[in-house]
């Protein structure tokens, strides 16, 4: 089965970490994978995207327009850059975090509203799974890492859950973060549950 994932966000949000976890999990499951990260020049605050293509052993790294089965966006405005690539009927997981560019913060440049973004994603024919950043859960009194929460949500409520087993993803999380594994597994699990409920 071929399955393409297009991820967008802002440098520093952990977009590439989500893609790496998916890549590792696919590898452990014996699924062919190609992972192509594109970072901006700045260390933080620039546009970041990643493309993960599952199922083909030898494949071009760029997902064609209308080709992605799943889009994951970590930032409201940057979501719009993934719309072109989502398949009609594909899943679009949107973490509604707003990272205002300085000019927008000062009121000197426009920034899209949630309604605009939602409208564009629906126009493209995708199934929107909106995650409200205000609902990020706490673990031992501190907010959990949002990227793992978002990955959990993608596993819980989209077709990604049919491609990758949650157990494998958890195994990868445990291997990667030994010291904070429990917190990160909690974030993943919370994401998996919250959206499943909301969807019902």
């Amino acid at each position: 089965m071929n399955y393409d994932i297009y991820l967008v966000g802002v440098g520093g949000q952990g977009v590439l970490t989500i893609a790496e976890l998916i890549t590792e999990a696919a590898y452990l499951q014996g699924l062919p994978v190609n992972y192509y990260p594109t970072e901006g020049m700045a260390q933080r605050g620039g546009f970041v995207k990643a493309q993960v293509r599952l199922g083909r052993g030898f494949v071009g790294p760029n997902i064609p327009e209308k080709g992605a089965d799943l889009a994951i966006s970590m930032e409201l405005s940057e979501s719009l850059k993934a719309v072109r690539f989502i398949k009609p009927g594909g899943d679009f997981v949107l973490w509604g975090h707003i990272w205002l560019p300085t000019a927008a913060m000062l009121g000197k440049a426009p920034y899209p509203t949630l309604d605009t973004v939602r409208g564009q994603i629906e126009q493209a024919g995708a199934r929107l799974h909106y995650l409200d950043p205000h609902n990020l859960p706490l673990y031992q009194g501190e907010l959990v890492p949002d990227n793992l929460y978002v990955l959990g949500a993608a596993l819980g409520c989209t077709s990604l859950g049919k491609v990758l087993s949650a157990e494998t993803v958890k195994q990868v999380v445990r291997q990667r973060w030994q010291r904070v594994a429990e917190r990160n597994l909690f974030a993943l699990q919370a994401g998996m549950e919250v959206l499943v409920e909301a969807e019902r």
Partner: protein
């Protein structure tokens, strides 16, 4: 053997290790950096691996090692190849003893910001073979083939990766690389090969060069690096795909099959050795087919060579590519071009919307990049702007030339300080041109530390020799930062690796004979403005060394001294701190000025611009 998830850069590096490379040199440049960086991190025994001062020096070191009989790899991005080319063409004429592989990375689609050049042109110009892997798996294999080819034929060999292959990761089976083969260094004295003394020598070398390329063509054909498969029935479509584009064929064929395309009826030539042109295979394809579709990114090099073969054969068919206007010479290819080409060649009716997504990016907020929180360059740009303002110049009447690296971010808001960007070290030469052109206002050049060592020194020497009135600001953060923190000659000795020494810019500049030499601490805004004001007003060549380590580096080491703290009783939300610094650590949330403690390094620039003392620094630890 082990299975690893690695990218094209890392695969190429491991392939070179497996091939017994002894000396690896290079200069950082996106997207090539990770190749050499991954070897440095691996630190394999009995190999010499270094970041060199620039690509020309790197290539000369690698060539010296290859002339002494060892295997050597030299890595760079396309801009670096331009720098190295003077030596490269001479080395190409001489040939090599041990294997010499030159890795150059091109960036179709421009992910990193530089000229979208097609470095295959250099292979053609220098008569050197060039291999182009289409995936990390092929990069691992072709790195080894490249060394074999280099030694079998006695020629330097290029490997070219494009960004999509260099940076994408996939599973690669990697063999044990062990130690490099024990080869004694040889000293071969042969002025006919290793000098250019006289026309007889040079013209013989030219003949030998051409002969080596012909031999390379035979070797490549014998190894089957280019794959030709002809359809059972002659007269149909032929497809020539080069390098990275090969990876899109299967997917494109699959998609086109939905619209009546028959993949079995197509003849295919997959070109992984993009130079020399595989003429024999191309002739076989032309003889078999009526129409040929050529899929290659950027320049139509293969298409032109194919057209020449077609002309020589008096072939009457149709070639679809760039020369007939089907494809653009600009941008990267993906599956789109495969389908568009098939559609054009076979008259398939594929609706445009099948491949065209719904465009929504026009509603996205612009996100211009700026320097990181705590970046020393922020203080320098602010000080330049403030010094010019105090000297009563408008911003649009003072030329500030820019250079490569993080320092170029001064072109963006809120600084809008830098006017232009050409190449490594070019800012100082450009500045002199503006002076000679008759510009009456002060002319300022800016460059980073690695840029200064790479190619900035000759420009400065020229300015001193001709006593050109200008101010050079060297923004020294101690690292080659934009490519991800590589050492350069100016990096502190403690970070140089074993036996490395720091070369101090503060000692070089006065030694060159610069009378007006200043040092400033860019985190101290007030004194920086005063120093710049004075420097700009002095006659002759002035050099200001703005020195402070890259914030990312000391932040990573946990050496932050302080954190900005806002006193909301005093803050009136005038936003001056944000408009003046543009610091990503500052934001306004729910009617309050917030400092992100994860980003703030305590540089104190926001405190320096606040008129109301609403921000102070608190020591951490």
């Amino acid at each position: 053997m082990s299975r690893q998830i690695i990218n094209g850069n890392e695969a190429l590096a491991l392939g070179a290790l497996r091939a017994g490379v002894k000396v690896v040199t290079g200069y950082p440049g996106t997207p090539s950096t990770r190749c050499l960086a991954s070897l440095l991190a691996l630190d394999p025994p009995q190999r010499h691996i270094e970041w060199s001062t620039n690509e020309k020096v790197a290539l000369e070191i690698a060539a010296g090692a290859a002339w002494a009989g060892q295997r050597a790899l030299c890595t760079m991005k396309m801009s670096g190849l331009n720098v190295a080319y003077d030596s490269l063409i001479s080395i190409a004429y001489s040939g090599v003893v041990g294997g010499l592989v030159i890795y150059v990375a091109d960036d179709p689609g421009v992910n990193a910001g530089m000229a979208e050049q097609d470095s295959r042109g250099f292979a053609i110009m220098s008569d050197l073979p060039m291999l182009e892997p289409a995936s990390p798996v092929e990069a691992y294999r072709l790195a080894q083939e490249a060394f074999e080819l280099s030694e079998q034929v006695g020629t330097p060999v290029f490997i070219r990766l494009v960004t999509a292959v260099a940076n994408s990761k996939t599973v690669v089976d990697v063999e044990e690389h062990g130690l490099p083969p024990q080869r004694e260094a040889q000293l071969i004295r042969d002025i006919n090969r290793f000098t250019k003394a006289g026309s007889a020598i040079c013209m013989q070398q030219h003949r030998d060069l051409i002969a080596r390329l012909e031999k390379a063509e035979q070797w490549i054909a014998a190894r089957g690096l280019n794959e030709l498969s002809l359809s059972t029935v002659a007269g149909g479509l032929g497809v020539v795909a080069a390098g990275a584009v090969i990876a899109y064929l299967d997917e494109g064929f699959e998609l086109a099959a939905r619209y009546g395309f028959d993949p079995q009826a197509v003849s295919l030539l997959k070109v992984r050795a993009v130079h020399p042109f595989p003429a024999a295979e191309a002739r076989a394809l032309l003889e078999h087919c009526q129409t040929v579709l050529v899929l290659e990114e950027l320049e139509p090099h293969i298409e032109k060579s194919l057209a020449v073969e077609a002309y020589r054969m008096n072939w009457q068919g149709r070639i679809i590519g760039k020369l007939d206007g089907t494809f653009s010479r600009v941008g990267a290819y993906d599956v789109h071009q495969v389908i568009e080409g098939l559609s054009r060649a076979l008259g398939l009716s594929i609706p445009a919307e099948a491949l065209q997504g719904y465009a929504a990016e026009q509603y996205a907020a612009a996100r211009p990049i700026t320097v990181c929180a705590g970046c020393p360059h922020r203080g320098t740009f602010m000080a330049i702007n403030e010094a010019l303002r105090k000297l009563r110049y408008r911003k649009d009447e003072v030329m500030v030339t820019g250079d490569i690296g993080c320092t170029i971010l001064g072109m963006n808001p809120p600084f809008n300080t830098i006017w232009n960007e050409v190449s490594m070290g070019a800012s100082i030469g450009l500045a002199q041109g503006y002076v000679h052109a008759g510009v009456k206002t002060p002319v300022i050049a800016t460059m980073g530390d690695s840029t200064f060592f790479h190619a900035g020194i000759p420009g400065l020497v020229n300015a001193i020799q001709h006593q050109v009135p200008l101010t050079l600001i060297i923004m020294d953060n101690g690292w080659t930062a934009m490519t991800g923190m590589q050492v350069n000659p100016g990096t502190r000795a403690a970070f140089q690796g074993e036996g490395g020494q720091q070369v101090d810019i503060a000692r070089i500049v006065p030694a060159l004979g610069v009378e007006h030499f200043y040092q400033m601490d860019p985190s101290d805004l007030r004194s920086s403005v005063e120093i710049l004001k004075e420097a700009i007003q002095q006659p002759g060549v002035k050099v200001v060394l703005a020195r402070m380590e890259c914030a990312i580096q000391f932040h990573r080491r946990g050496e932050n001294a302080a954190l900005a703290v806002v006193d909301m009783d005093k803050c009136v939300l005038c936003k001056l701190c944000i408009t003046q610094t543009g610091c990503p650590a500052l934001s306004i949330e729910e009617g309050e000025l917030k400092v992100d403690p994860a980003l703030c390094t305590g540089c104190s620039l926001c405190m320096a611009v606040c008129n109301l003392d609403a921000i102070h620094m608190e020591r951490v630890k």
